[in-house]
């Protein structure tokens, strides 16, 4: 399935996924024959518009919402940005609401956006509390929320530690105060049923490439009536919320991929969990000084994450790659200048330990054989790194 690396095993499905062949197939006509601009009056435009609106309906149906509540964007990060900025600005304009509440374990798409709103646009940024699994505490939200909060944003399934947050409970609290609640569902869309999400959230961000769709396309669910200021202005596409000619082939691909993810994707859940738990228990049994990060059971089906004592996480990734396994780490950095992950620090993990992180995420092309190979090699590599750092210290 993968070209450059036939002999390599991919364990980084949380970073991105290969595009499903059926998704590619669905996209192809819209690059060439049906290339029209959906805003055009003529038949070319009408064909493109039909494809676009078909895609919107597919996603809306799977979420159990109205298609007017779906806005297409350029990626998951753009969706998060639109949610935070759009709602925060509008709520401030209308009601003077200037508090932003986010968890300390958000993806940078949310945390850096909120930080900028606080540093340059007069908002007050406050953090919710998490427990040692990185799970957000609803009681604390209940305690600090009031009508001055412009938006609350919480990650659904955590990209680094896999923990699934109690979004329904958090959303209910927000709704009691009529405060918009945004959920970053970029990771969870591939693994959790999302039908009926409007019961507990007002906005939810998606990115297609996390569920076997193409990169460069995302969507934002915006519940009807949610105050939001457009961030891209222009021709008024996407209900005026996100101007710019729609990327029709990618949007078609996203809808196809989302359909597959929310139907047959959820059916392979049990086997993903089996792989995940095999990796987790093997690490816990065979590697001393290893710790699972995130919740042991309330976590994404495909997601195993750890910290290792006395191990440089980047070094481990490099050795894993050389041994043929593609993994990731919370502090992953290609420039040799690692910083401990803010997410791990927020959970109370010490900075040196946080630098020894590893994330292993499986997917629909993972086999039992891949997993067995991996669990047999990982302890050797961890041992190798520990031995090397002892040698270097002893010199």
């Amino acid at each position: 399935m993968m070209n450059a690396s036939l002999d390599k095993i991919y364990f980084d499905y949380a970073a991105t996924t290969p595009v499903d062949d059926r998704v590619v197939e669905a996209m192809l006509p819209y690059f060439t024959r049906q290339f029209g601009n959906p805003s055009s009056v003529h038949i070319f435009g009408q064909e493109a518009e039909a494809a676009l609106e078909g895609a919107r309906e597919t996603i809306a149906r799977l979420l159990g919402v109205s298609s007017s509540e779906i806005v297409f964007t350029g990626c998951g990060t753009e969706s998060d940005n639109l949610a935070l900025r759009g709602v925060a600005f509008e709520r401030k304009l209308r009601y003077g609401a200037d508090r932003i509440l986010i968890s300390p374990v958000e993806h940078h798409a949310v945390s850096h956006t909120a930080r900028q709103l606080a540093d340059h646009f007069g908002f007050r940024l406050e953090f919710l509390r998490v427990d040692s699994f990185g799970m957000v505490d609803p009681d604390y939200l209940q305690k600090i929320i009031d009508r001055d909060v412009a938006i609350v944003s919480v990650i659904h399934g955590n990209n680094e530690i896999g923990t699934i947050n109690p979004v329904a409970e958090l959303g209910q609290i927000c709704r009691n105060y009529q405060v918009p609640f945004h959920v970053d569902a970029v990771q969870s869309a591939a693994h959790l049923p999302l039908k009926g999400l409007e019961d507990w959230c007002d906005l939810a961000a998606f990115g297609a490439h996390k569920f076997y769709g193409p990169k460069g396309v995302g969507a934002l669910f915006i519940r009807k009536g949610t105050p939001i200021l457009p961030m891209l202005t222009g021709g008024g596409q996407e209900n005026g919320i996100r101007s710019g000619t729609q990327n029709v082939p990618y949007i078609v691909g996203m809808a196809k991929a989302f359909e597959l993810a929310q139907t047959e994707g959820l059916k392979i859940h049990a086997s993903l969990i089996q792989f995940r738990d095999r990796i987790i228990s093997s690490v816990q049994d065979n590697i001393k000084g290893s710790h699972l990060t995130g919740h042991p059971t309330l976590r994404l089906a495909n997601h195993a994450s750890f910290v290792f004592e006395g191990v440089d996480g980047n070094q481990l990734l490099i050795l894993l790659d050389a041994a043929g396994f593609a993994c990731s780490s919370g502090s992953a950095c290609k420039t040799g200048d690692p910083k401990p992950s803010e997410v791990l620090l927020a959970m109370g993990i010490s900075p040196p330990l946080a630098l020894g992180s590893l994330r292993v995420t499986v997917g629909k092309y993972t086999t039992q054989e891949d997993v067995e190979k991996f669990v047999s090699v990982l302890p050797l590599l961890v041992h190798k790194i520990r031995k090397m750092s002892l040698e270097l210290k002893g010199r």
């Binding site: 980047n314 070094q315 050795l319 050389a322 040799g336 190798k384 790194i385």
Partner: protein, 366 residues
């Protein structure tokens, strides 16, 4: 050769890029690495060895050659070993050469251990020097084929066991040939200027760097002539090098040169040009390429700094670590802290750090 895994230290420059391409062509299993070295906070973009630019360039080359590429974090150990040594050198009045230490302890030790863990059996760099297997056991270090670009001086600190797992592909070519090879391989390497500056100085004057990072090194004191006459004030011994004439701020009828530093008394000694003539030197911490000296006393051509000319001399072994180097003709600017490297023809015999420069006159009397 097919299955021999080689790590090439890549800088994004033409030499290491061509080295990588040559190794690939020779059939090795090649992967590229770049060390992320320490930079002064806020000056990361100017560190000569590992700017984001040079890393992007190295990645482009690696992608084109279809070899994996990894950045290895060496910031902490570089700061501890190399930068601290740099400060300590100036603190003790010598003019240190941190690149030599970096080669021995960072590249050929820290990096080697890392790439070894990744499966490498050899490591390669883009240095202009050559290696030859002398007999079944030892490896000789030779000057690069291109005398103008020869970098054997900076590799003279390597131990025999380090040389044995080393490959230096571009040492077999001249610089113009290497440039041509880059074009032939179609490598996207810009013609970057060679720089002699230390990577972590980020293109700035080392004096400013010391002021910011090791202010304790800077102790002003008196400038005294060889005759003992106080003629001025110095800003701190670290700011002057042996042989320096400009920037002393002296109002004297004749040109005066820095001829010595007295660290304990914090005195900068100046004298006439004739006082700069040295008859020999004591070098310590000597590294012999073939592990032992060729004889207790032998003649060699000596280089007293990276860009110095070769000067003929007699090398006398004093003890396990020290040698006495006696020049045939007096030599200028012998600078403690720099390395004296001994050659016979193309071959590097060994080298040691200059501990003491021996004035020409005294040696004649001795």
């Amino acid at each position: 050769m097919k299955d021999v895994k080689v790590a090439i230290a890549m800088s994004g420059g033409v030499d290491s890029s061509v080295a990588a391409a040559l190794l690939k062509e020779q059939g090795y299993q090649v992967f590229g690495v770049m060390l992320r070295l320490w930079s002064e906070p806020g000056k990361e973009d100017s560190n000569r060895c590992c700017t984001p630019d040079s890393m992007a360039q190295a990645r482009r080359v690696a992608a084109q050659l279809k070899i994996p590429f990894y950045a290895i974090n060496a910031q902490e150990i570089f700061r501890q070993v190399v930068v601290e040594y740099f400060f300590e050198g100036y603190r003790s009045g010598i003019t240190p050469n941190p690149c030599l230490l970096c080669n021995r302890y960072i590249r050929w030790d820290y990096m080697w251990k890392h790439v070894q863990a990744m499966g490498a059996e050899k490591m390669a760099t883009g240095h202009y020097a050559r290696l030859r297997v002398a007999n079944s056991k030892t490896v000789k270090l030779l000057k690069g084929l291109d005398e103008n670009k020869d970098q054997s001086y900076v590799l003279s600190v390597l131990r025999q066991d380090q040389l044995q797992h080393t490959l230096l592909p571009v040492g077999e070519f001249t610089k113009p040939q290497v440039r041509q090879l880059a074009r032939d391989f179609g490598l996207p390497v810009a013609e970057r200027q060679d720089s002699q500056d230390l990577c972590f100085l980020a293109g700035q004057d080392y004096r400013d760097f010391l002021r910011r990072n090791a202010p304790d090194v800077i102790r002003p004191g008196k400038i005294v002539t060889t005759g003992g006459q106080v003629v001025g004030e110095h800003e701190g011994l670290g700011f002057y090098t042996i042989g320096q004439r400009k920037g002393l701020g002296l109002q004297l009828p004749h040109p005066y040169y820095v001829v010595d530093k007295k660290v304990e008394e914090n005195l900068l000694i100046v004298g006439k040009e004739t006082d700069l003539r040295f008859g020999g030197l004591i070098a310590e911490g000597v590294n012999w390429i073939e592990e032992n000296p060729p004889a207790v006393c032998f003649s060699a051509e000596v280089k007293i700094r990276y860009k110095a000319r070769f000067v003929p001399a007699i090398i006398e072994i004093m003890d396990d670590h020290r040698v006495h180097v006696k020049f045939e003709q007096p030599v200028r600017d012998v600078t403690p802290g720099q390395r004296a490297v001994f050659y016979q023809g193309d071959e590097v015999i060994g080298g040691g750090m200059i501990r003491e420069a021996i004035p020409f006159i005294i040696q004649e009397k001795a």
